[in-house]
Symmetry: C2
């Protein structure tokens, strides 16, 4: 009962024969791609000239991928399923490419590569070839939302695709090596968050071919009963299909697929018949077949089929060793290509009939080209959520709290296309307003004291940054929208996933048939400066640096200084397409600086002089105080206040940067300011004291080509931290108001002598603030209660 | 049989009473740390003045941590165990600190904080207090090798500590929230790599307190039978201890600990009695008790004990709300401090007797202060493994292949203190020589065709970068040595783990009783430029950028250009202490440039002018060609060759950088070159064409303060890639020899007009090389077969 074995043989002789022929065709086309540059149908005896000079690709995983593809095609047709295929072992690129060619999708997407002999030659030649296509199930491959180059994310992508796609079946092949990765291991319990009534189904298929690159896999070598326990522990009903005789495996797999799909249908029907939604025991399949199945059994007297040696190119010396060449020919001919392709080189009619048609083909499913099904979000006007800011520095509020109200209404207005993702931090990040209109998704058990948990929730909380990221990627790539909130420090956990997504975005920009998808949006709100409960391990602003290394056309970084600018920024991000947007904004109450109208203008510019805080009106300043980030902005304004009070004759210009990419030259980034504008704002020769949220050298890296770069002095996080007060944190890193004043005194020519007293006062103020924290365990009220107060608006500036 | 329940009550009444008293004392000290700044023993009625101004810390996890600590102490004493404690939920800092104080270790490490009333006041006051100690189980906490700030690594650290420590018991508490993370989920199967004969034991204890920050945990809400299946699937024998009545839980936990430790002893005895080593079914414990157990049951009419509301500070309004204050006092007094501490404030004698003594205390175990037990590696002289390089550019070899022979002998010479870690890439990275002397560690099933697998193996291969990193960290922090080899792109998977380790290293430099540990060494050898089989997803050199953001005193980056320099570099790294060393070096055959003697000098300098490739002898150069990394070095030397041939009058200086940190100012990094030296090498006004391995802007970030920075032009990886030939890859990124020549022509004043023909030739060469790849699928032999050949050594230079 627990493990289905082929109780019956569901395939007729004829079905079996055709299915096997299809599999052979796909395998043939796979081997062809790895080896051949001409003579694709072996109409001539194989010679070295027909073989590619560099043999690149991965054979081992391919026969299994092809087998599953063929069997999925069978059930799609039989049941008229809406399905996509996620290839965990994405290095099996040639297998999936082969299938898309058999289905005709490849030829539709790439018109040169028809379903004939020339097309087949072209298909073979281009694979892993300069100017051709990549070796993986990359963005170039129709039907793919998962390149699988970096292993570990197949299952989280699959669940992301299934959310809010009630009719979708996501078949997800997981390599048994891939299953060893942390992210994959942590993905199995995703089924706790999948609502069988509202969401689609994921069918995990563990591809237990026994090996990875040079090693056996753990899951293939633990007792089979442990493996099945493991799958049950994850909440699945496991079905084992094992063997190395094609006919038997075809029958067992077909029976198992039928069984699994019956169960899925039953689960969905139960869940959709109106009763309470419970977590079902979803089926999953373990496919235990040899790695490199149907390939060379032995090469140079070493076993290859069914071992790790089948991983890449089993016969690697084809060009040097005539025996290898002969063996390759034997291997290719073992698929009997003459039975599979007609005189023109097209698959025979029988094969063409087998796969689903049109959009039912997994390679043509619109869901897997997310931009194609993407609808704009219904976005309430963020201006309606504005903080009232009668004067700068008033209205002390939590920026994310302000945002929360808008997010709540975004969720409500888009009940099927927007979700919020986070590792259990949505409430602590002050986005709790969301729970006025929705819950956290949860189909496991609940108890009476639980808050905001339900199968219908649209907030996805799980203590796994990997899972949040993977789900969101899958959700976006299938045409929906989302926002990921996380601790700033711990978003580094997904650095490498971000890399891969950025690469996907970059590549798909140049693939004409790929439509732009919604941007991947991050809100990092428990940031480096306010880790009051936590300390050093939670202090790291380096994700910005990481993201800025990506291709300029896909990354955006925003540091809104208050609630209104945050609203404006996020609204922009949720409208945008095909970017990675990183927004950093604190959750702690801070003064608001800009009215909504000002905020909109400021964000549109991305950078601006704040006249009301400056004292250089109309004239050239003596110093520019620049800032980016909420805490640096507060310190900068406080420093400006000190300067205005103590050095009223000093012409200070305050510049705030929201859009960090404005700092880069326009040649480097589409958001970059032209040099002339940059020079106007930052002057060409005055000292600039830049208070920055993150690692200071990033500002240098962005501005080193600017005229005034030699006069730029950046303060930021220099990796000094611990569990302490907020002001002690900025002091530890010399980013505090007093130190900024000192920096001004030290950098403005001629000021040093004149302002010696003030400088000393600042040094003493730092010491006294530090002493205060040591004595009272809290910041000096003179700091915390400081406000930007001007008697009249016209005091320093008149243009507000 | 599967789940131990308290079959008997192993504790006598008196033992039970004392154990419970110890637990109450630890709980009392925990609450005291979170709340109190004075009146530590409640000798006076509690007032607001006694309470800290900022209430910071995490209560919820603490009672469970304290319970386990007390019970582990019991069995350590009873069995004279050598044990350490890994606190997965490291936010339970006050709990572990409390225990170290009770054991006396805290007072030994921090002399001010004695075991008396003043010491207790000090203990309370300093916690999460400015100038005090962090909130987590950070490096400041004796006995800790795991701060637990970023959740997910407890179990991998535990296994790392256990490897090669046959007598050690590593008790590893895993938060049920933490268990949702990918890295933790992927760690369970570590037992496949633990040899019960040679290694110590890990006792995983899943702390199923039901909640994380604001949510229930997945593992606490799936059916209990699933949870137990899961643990069995991981190969464990699970024991469940559940309840909320202290006396009952004490008895059950004691019985369960006894049972588990009996089993561990039996397993070890079996394995060590000489028979073949098999994978045993190790015990593990599930502790299901309420979160915030013994804390306030309800606060403001909401249930707290046993819910997520107990996570941080359950009574948060103590200073504002008299009811909260009264409740806090009730809570503190519920532990009956007057029974636990004597008149001086010391724990009563009965409590002092309970824990183990001396080094047996988990907080004083030398293993947890790894530097204390660290022994130098026995390192064979790397010079004996030199590649013979009669002339520069000869001896085409694989650098990592060369290194492999030395690594093999390092492994052989250090059979208990050195291991090699990697995600199934040791062989493909050409370090296969290791298998001449050892195997891969593996205690799961094997079959006849397997190669190099055995329980005694010292190569740790698992398809999880997280696991490799976590194991290695645990291994290093307990006083051993190791090397991690990985794909360059995928090492980003552990970015955040590297952050945490770097923080640990930084902090421990300033903790006098922490001894330096061996460095964390990376060898990234399947690097961005040679992803022939893979393509874009495998192309990312950004790990260097990531590491360079860490504190200068803990990071080192090396780019040895060939085998001899790699040998010299790695030998240096394996001798070093308390660093993170990143070494990037390719595995593909490339020309060797330096003899061993030259390599040693070059590496010692970290940077050097290569006279033999330069044409500026004695004079000022017209242009400096700088390079860092094996592929950029090859292209630079080839470019120099072209320049020498075509523009013989041009004075070219070739500079190679091995130690990237040499580029930074000496004020920024201890390896930084003084400006005077930098100016000598790079001139103050000549164009510098810098061919760099990674993202080009890193070189700017490192050198923006240097005199000649405005003349620095950097070529590197600009995120252009795919599956193509090696030379096509460098061309895609303008790093090829021809483009470097073009750069020289474009930058050297006056050269443009003169060298127009050559420039055009270079443009054409690029095109023709590209065409060659498109046509032949391989690089032009004129490129691949190019060699640096000089008729006489004296041709261009005479100092070799
Ligand atoms: C995160 C990550 N680490 C390392 C690799 C290198 N790598 C490529 S394929 C492979 C083995 C994959 O084994 P498995 O998942 O079992 O796939 P299959 O056997 O089907 O080829 C490895 C380790 C990778 N692609 N991703
Ligand atoms: C990787 C990571 N993501 C998020 C957090 C934020 N965080 C701190 S404690 C916590 C909940 C921990 O729950 P659990 O592991 O069950 O510990 P316990 O219940 O014992 O406190 C979270 C999510 C973190 N520390 N690390
Ligand atoms: Mg496999
Ligand atoms: Mg918990």
């Amino acid at each position: 009962m627990n493990i289905a074995t082929a109780q019956h043989n569901p395939l007729t002789e004829d079905e079996l024969r055709r299915l096997d022929a299809y599999w052979r065709a796909a395998n043939y086309l796979t081997v062809g791609q790895i080896y051949l540059r001409s003579n694709p149908l072996l109409r001539e005896p194989l010679t070295v000239e027909h073989v590619k000079p560099r043999l690149l690709g991965h054979w081992g995983t391919s026969p299994g991928l092809n087998l599953l593809y063929a069997h999925l095609n069978r059930v799609i047709v039989a049941r008229d399923l809406n399905a996509i295929y996620i290839t965990g072992p994405g290095h099996g690129g040639p297998a999936i490419v082969a299938n898309t060619w058999l289905e005709g999708t490849w030829s539709e997407r790439y018109h040169g590569t028809c379903q004939d002999e020339a097309g087949m030659a072209q298909l073979f030649c281009q694979f892993s070839f300069p100017g051709g296509i990549p070796s993986h199930v990359a963005a170039e491959v129709p039907g793919s939302i998962h390149e699988g180059g970096e292993l570990g994310y197949a299952l989280s992508h699959a669940y992301g695709a299934a959310f809010d796609n009630p009719d979708l079946l996501v078949a997800c092949v997981i390599g048994d090596g891939e299953a060893e990765t942390g992210p994959l291991a942590g993905s199995w319990l995703s089924n706790v968050f999948l609502n069988p009534a509202r969401d689609g189904a994921v069918l995990p298929i563990l591809h237990l071919n026994g090996y990875k690159i040079a090693n056996p896999t753990v899951l293939s070598r633990i007792p089979e009963s442990d493996l099945l326990d493991l799958m049950r522990g994850y909440g699945h009903e496991p079905y084992l299909v094992a063997g190395d005789d094609p006919a038997t495996v075809h029958q067992t797999l077909a029976a198992t697929m039928d069984r699994a799909l019956d169960e899925i249908a039953a689960i969905q029907q139960r869940a959709r018949s109106g009763g309470p939604v419970e977590r079902p025991r979803w089926p999953m399949i373990v496919l235990r077949t040899p790695k490199g199945w149907t390939g060379p059994r032995e090469v140079d007297d070493k076993q290859v089929e069914g071992t790790f040696r089948a991983h890449q190119v089993p016969l690697s010396q084809v060009r040097q060793n005539p025996q290898h060449l002969a063996e390759l020919e034997r291997w290719l001919r073992s698929y009997r290509p003459e039975e599979l392709f007609d005189a023109t080189g097209a698959p025979i009619a029988e094969l063409l009939e087998l796969p689903p048609k049109g959009d039912r083909r997994m390679s043509a499913n619109p869901v897997a080209n997310g931009g194609q099904v993407l609808r704009d979000l219904v976005l309430p006007d963020f201006r309606d959520y504005a903080v009232d800011v009668p004067r700068p520095g008033t209205a002390v509020t939590s920026a994310t709290g302000t945002l929360g109200n808008w997010i709540r209404d975004v969720i409500a207005a888009n009940p099927e296309t927007f979700r919020l993702f986070g590792p259990d931090e949505v409430a602590s990040n002050r986005l709790g307003a969301a729970f006025e209109v929705t819950d956290r998704a949860w189909v496991a058990a609940t108890t009476s004291g639980d808050e905001n948990l339900s199968p219908d929730g649209r907030v996805m909380e799980v203590l796994s940054e990997h899972l949040c990221q993977g789900w969101l990627e899958g959700y976006l790539l299938t045409g929906r929208h989302g926002l990921f909130t996380s601790y700033e420090a711990f978003i580094h956990i997904v650095d490498s996933m971000v890399n891969q997504h950025a690469k996907w975005l970059k590549v798909t920009r140049d693939i004409p048939w790929r439509q732009p998808v919604a941007s991947l949006n991050y809100l990092l709100s428990s940031h480096v400066w306010r880790q009051d409960h936590n300390g050093f391990s939670h202090q790291d602003p380096g994700f910005i640096d990481h993201v800025v290394n990506k291709k300029a056309e896909v990354v955006r970084v925003y540091l809104p200084p208050d609630g209104n600018t945050l609203l404006s920024t996020l609204s922009h991000c949720l409208r945008s397409r095909h970017y990675i947007n990183v927004v950093v904004a604190g959750k702690q109450p801070t003064p608001s600086w800009l009215s909504m109208d000002e905020a909109v203008l400021h964000c549109r510019r991305g950078i601006g002089i704040w006249n009301w805080a400056s004292s250089d009106d109309g004239a050239e300043p003596d110093v520019v105080l620049a800032c980016a980030g909420d805490v640096p902005t507060l310190e900068t304004i406080a420093a400006a206040d000190l300067l205005h009070q103590h050095l009223p004759e000093l012409k200070v210009r305050v510049v705030n940067v929201v859009d960090l990419m404005r700092l880069q030259p326009s040649s480097e980034h589409p958001h970059g300011l032209p040099d002339s504008e940059f020079d106007t704002i930052f002057t060409t020769d005055k000292p600039v004291i830049f208070a920055y949220h993150g690692y200071p050298w990033l500002i240098h890296r962005l501005t080193y080509r600017r005229t005034n770069h030699p006069n730029l002095h950046v303060r930021g996080y220099k990796e000094e931290g611990t569990t302490t007060t907020p002001f002690d944190m900025v002091m530890l890193n010399d980013l505090d108001r007093f130190h900024l004043v000192i920096d001004v005194i030290d950098r403005v020519p001629g000021l040093a002598a004149r302002a010696a007293h003030l400088r000393q006062e600042m040094v003493d103020a730092r010491q006294s603030c530090r002493d205060h924290t040591r004595k009272h365990g809290a910041d000096d009220p003179r700091v915390t209660q400081w406000r930007w107060i001007r008697e009249t608006d016209a005091g320093l500036s008149d243009d507000r």
